[in-house]
Symmetry: C2
Subunit: 229 residues, 2 copies
DNA sequence: TAGATTGTTAATCGATTAACAATC
DNA sequence: TAGATTGTTAATCGATTAACAATC
């Protein structure tokens, strides 16, 4: 029997996709979503119900194709001649990013940067709820700083465990960052947002790490300044 | 006469490059340079004189090819079997990014984030010197905050002009960001580093803008957290 | 209907990675 | 010399952009 077509890969037809296959959205698009989100919130506040991709592109200094491609990942469709519904888009971005669900977090290191992050109310709309902060400084321990309780660093592990904290924000000095991260991982944290200017590594590959690096951003600017001279 | 080879484009030879032609370095590489820089500083402190690209790659969790490509833009060569000279590389990165020359800066908006940036000593090594800060709050004006003088926002334009300030750091609330930037541009600033969560636009296309957006970074993290669930 | 706008496929561009030659 | 490591060219991969069909 001449069986030319092995089952599962019929000639001329694409392989059937696994339903649970991770989509893998382009990171640059994900990074732009908060920019659209903030823009759309302002549009909503000023009473705009529908907005075209071209309009968004013009206001945010992006190309219209890019806006359409980016918004496509939210799976909210627009109407030709009308545009996208502002409210639907806002809701869809929230859901896409998981900002509609509260993520409990702790912050380690209440220096000036930690202080600024602790008190930034804007994080609420991203679903980020910083429940408590931790520090080694006795003058801070036991106090409320920017409305959040500050505990001794020694208490962090237990706190994270008991309160099922998902996110750890690291704003300690570079030399302490790794050990703080280790404690967080040990306590079962899911993700670390690291502001210390040093690479954190974790054994448990399920723990997500996001590095924030002001120096990288400034490097781009200073290189351009130098080129302009 | 059979002149097949018009001058300036000899067959088989590449076009001669303009000497002043802007190189156009890949931005991802420029963003990674400060990471190498910080790593190399630590290597230097621990007495390492030479280091191989493979070693750097292993420690920073990058591929060896990427390290070699990235370091190539500094034009510092390595020696086969030996590696790169740590001191030369540090110096070359400084020069490449312009961090060897002091850039005078002002900061507008001494809230918590502004306060944190104002006092971050690490900026020194990037050549960034924040000379003064500006705010509308009378309780701050006239004081030294984190060692820097704080003046009334009304005085910023003149200050920038007189002190030939190159960089303006914007840490005011979103709604004031554009007008603060306008003032800076009017006063002749060369570059703006914007931490307000809003897009700043400038008429003068020579003025460089670098947007810093914590929400973009957090979006990447929260999307991954959601995917992991 | 005509025209503006979305949605999608294909082309382009740029960064990363692979392969390997050059070098000490 | 042999082998580790750099340097460079080519292949691959992924994001952006262009072109255009689909839709209201």
């Amino acid at each position: 029997m001449n069986n030319e077509y092995p089952r599962g890969s019929l000639k001329g037809f694409p392989e059937p996709k696994e339903l649970s296959e991770p989509k893998g959205f382009p990171e640059p698009s994900v990074r732009r979503l908060p920019i659209y989100y903030h823009y759309l919130q302002q549009a909503k506040e000023s009473g705009t119900e529908f907005i075209s991709g071209n309009q968004i592109a013009a206001d945010l200094d992006l190309s219209p194709v890019q806006v359409r491609k980016d918004l496509e990942i939210t799976e909210v469709g627009g109407k030709p001649k009308v545009g996208y519904e502002v409210i639907s888009l806002l809701k869809a971005i929230e859901v896409f990013l998981g900002w509609n669900e509260i993520s409990p977090a702790v912050l380690a290191g209440v220096g000036h940067l930690g202080n600024a992050i602790l008190g930034y109310n804007g994080f609420k709309e991203y679903g980020l709820n910083i429940a408590a902060a931790f520090d080694d400084d006795f003058s801070k321990i036991g106090k409320l700083i920017r409305g959040k309780p500050v505990y001794s660093s020694d208490a962090m592990e237990q706190y994270v465990r008991e309160h099922k904290i998902e996110i750890g924000i690291v704003t300690v000095p570079a030399q302490s960052a790794q050990s703080v991260a280790d404690t967080m991982v040990k306590a079962g944290i899911k993700a670390i947002w690291n502001f210390a200017p040093v690479k954190i590594t974790v054994q448990n590959s399920k723990v997500l790490i996001q590095h924030e690096n002001l120096a990288s951003s400034f490097a781009v600017l200073s290189k351009k300044i130098k080129e302009n001279k």
